[in-house]
Symmetry: none
Subunit: 217 residues, 4 copies
């Protein structure tokens, strides 16, 4: 094993890791400053490479942006879907764990900052917004819809308008995410409610509306 210590070579060859490192750096900066206010120089610097290197891996700013979405969000949605498909719990428990897992695996991850980003930049980058709506929002809604449909079919839930209910019940989670990555970053909001209590109440209200009485342990 060589004990040779390299004397600060001007750069290092890391073809494999570079894209992921760049996407990672870009995620941080895009989420923090928004799309327009993020300079590619800074992304490169944070990834520890020069501006030019970035262009070896991505065609430009928009391409990088798309890569960020593809690499960071889409896998998380898939994961969520697989979890629910594999679950054999009763539907009330499944709904509860869905909300909690959604938060645990996505909501409180860095990647959730993308939601704010998309909302902020949709008008200027319609392609990205459409991509996000189709690849993220649609599939994600489908997972919750599956739970509701299953519960209603089994008689565990009172019948509801599933499509509308999905939007209504995803909203608190999504807006919480958006809030935390925007206003929540600069001030503790008025009557801020801790996430645990928030999820608890949200779940309880939804189950009540579905006709599931509170458990008494």
């Amino acid at each position: 094993m060589s004990t040779h210590v390299s004397r600060n070579p001007r750069w290092e060859r890391r073809k494999e890791q570079r894209p992921a490192e760049l996407v990672d750096a870009a995620l941080d900066l895009f989420v923090e400053h928004g799309y327009a206010a993020t300079r590619l120089d800074d992304v490169a610097a944070r990834a520890g490479v020069s501006k030019g290197t970035l262009y070896l891996y991505f065609a430009g700013k928009e391409d990088l942006f798309k890569a960020v979405i593809r690499e960071t969000i889409v896998p998380l949605i898939d994961e969520r879907r697989r979890d629910v498909e594999a679950s054999e719990a009763n539907c009330a428990a499944l709904l509860e764990s869905y909300f909690h897992d959604w938060w645990k695996h996505f909501g409180c991850s860095k990647a959730s900052g993308i939601c704010k980003l998309i909302v902020a930049e949709a008008a200027n980058f319609p392609d990205l917004a459409r991509f996000f709506a189709e690849e993220v929002v649609g599939p994600n809604d489908r997972v919750l819809a599956t739970i509701l449909e299953r519960g209603i079919a089994r008689g565990e839930f009172r019948p509801v308008d599933v499509d509308a209910a999905v939007r209504v019940w995803m909203a608190p989670l999504v807006l919480k995410v958006i809030w935390l990555h925007s206003v929540g970053m600069v001030c503790s909001g008025p009557n801020d409610v801790g996430i645990e209590r928030f999820l608890e109440v949200h779940t309880r209200l939804a189950l009540s509306a579905l006709g599931v009485p509170p458990e008494r342990p």
Copy 2:
């Protein structure tokens, strides 16, 4: 009461209206394109003045942006509070009309675009975000909380965690507003639900959770 007779009333009135016209034009463009992508050239053009004139009334882009937020949002909050304070209906009806009125007077107005703006630019304008949280979100939440507290106190509603429920139940409306001003502008989302049906379902689910059975006509 002034006895001053203006020599050129039309022109002077104009002068007093200028700032409002500029704020109006700026609101449209900021909502549509976001802060960074909005050019002052375009704001001036839409207001029918030259770019230089804009600088007679505002110190710069930031100042204009802040004016837009402050001038546009504050009046709406006041209006919302007065409406609810004046109501004397029963609480279920009051809740229902609150959601519908919120939409009718704010959600579908041009001003609701501010929500998206704040979220998108919170990181770059922290003081505005704080202002918004304190002056808009807080008071607005308070109105809904009042309704819930009154309903619970009167025994019309089952007891709930009011603060948390307020956040949960405002979220669908707020996110809808944000969505319509962003992704909704460039594509019809997946399982899009019309606003009427959306409000209906939302109200019904909330009332169910509050233990109010559906009316039978």
Copy 3:
């Protein structure tokens, strides 16, 4: 009359002259360095304005380039055509004066540097090449063709293939122009021939080929 001497105002307002000044500066630099090697910064500097000002009058580099052609060459061609149409000399004299005038008004002007430019950049800016071929080369050739056709019709010239002869007889002038703006700029060519003698010989050879015997004074 004011004796006030302005103390170096940071800039001067010259809406009318600016475009012409910029086109002028651009002509110099484009001819000297070619299209790609000319920096807009330098064009602006030579015109005495800042880089930004250039963009007030031209959409970009290519637009500026087109303007240079339009403003500097096209008028000269028109002038040539009007001269010939108005002439009432015999055709031999007309041909001779055409060659000399072409040189005097165009060949030795700064504008003739465009010929080299077009040739050099045609591949990268096909639009410009086509524009030049249609607006400059075609009309210019037509003028010479008119002279030849008139001479042949009147029996002053021996019949020749007019279209081909036009290309053959314009070539020495055009190539001379191209040469002087390229190789001729950096060295006095081998067996360089002064322009007067060159025109003389060219005219004489052409007239000989057309069957016009040399004058004996």
Copy 4:
């Protein structure tokens, strides 16, 4: 005769051919796009090597460009001179075949693109322009001068100013070459004349001017 047995003949031959292959690829691209618009990446790719390899053989873009000019043009000049020196035809026939051969061996070859290159880049590469003027234009003109002088000396041609006539009569061929590699690449020019007819007419007009009557077969 070397007794050295190369261990890997194919690979070694390759090594010796590399520079020529690179020059060849560069000629194509320089002629097609000009100096500035040609990327070394593309040159390397066309030669089937990596960009780095190019730098093993040439100091940089300029060096490669100079190599292209020098390597490509010199052999052609020599060839042209030898051809004419060897001819024993009468001078009218010799002149005719000179024009046609010039076209056949040089004008329609890839190498003729150099003419356009030199013209386009003379200002940026003055030493190349001088080299071209001395090593190419001079010797080439000399050949035509030789023909004219011989014809006049033998009484086959009417006396003319040989130096000037040489420039006049080379011009149509050279300009044709330049045109075909520039404007001709992107549009069929106005009153375009096929090369055969062009050469025919050019030769006929020159011979007429030299007092050689058309042949009657």
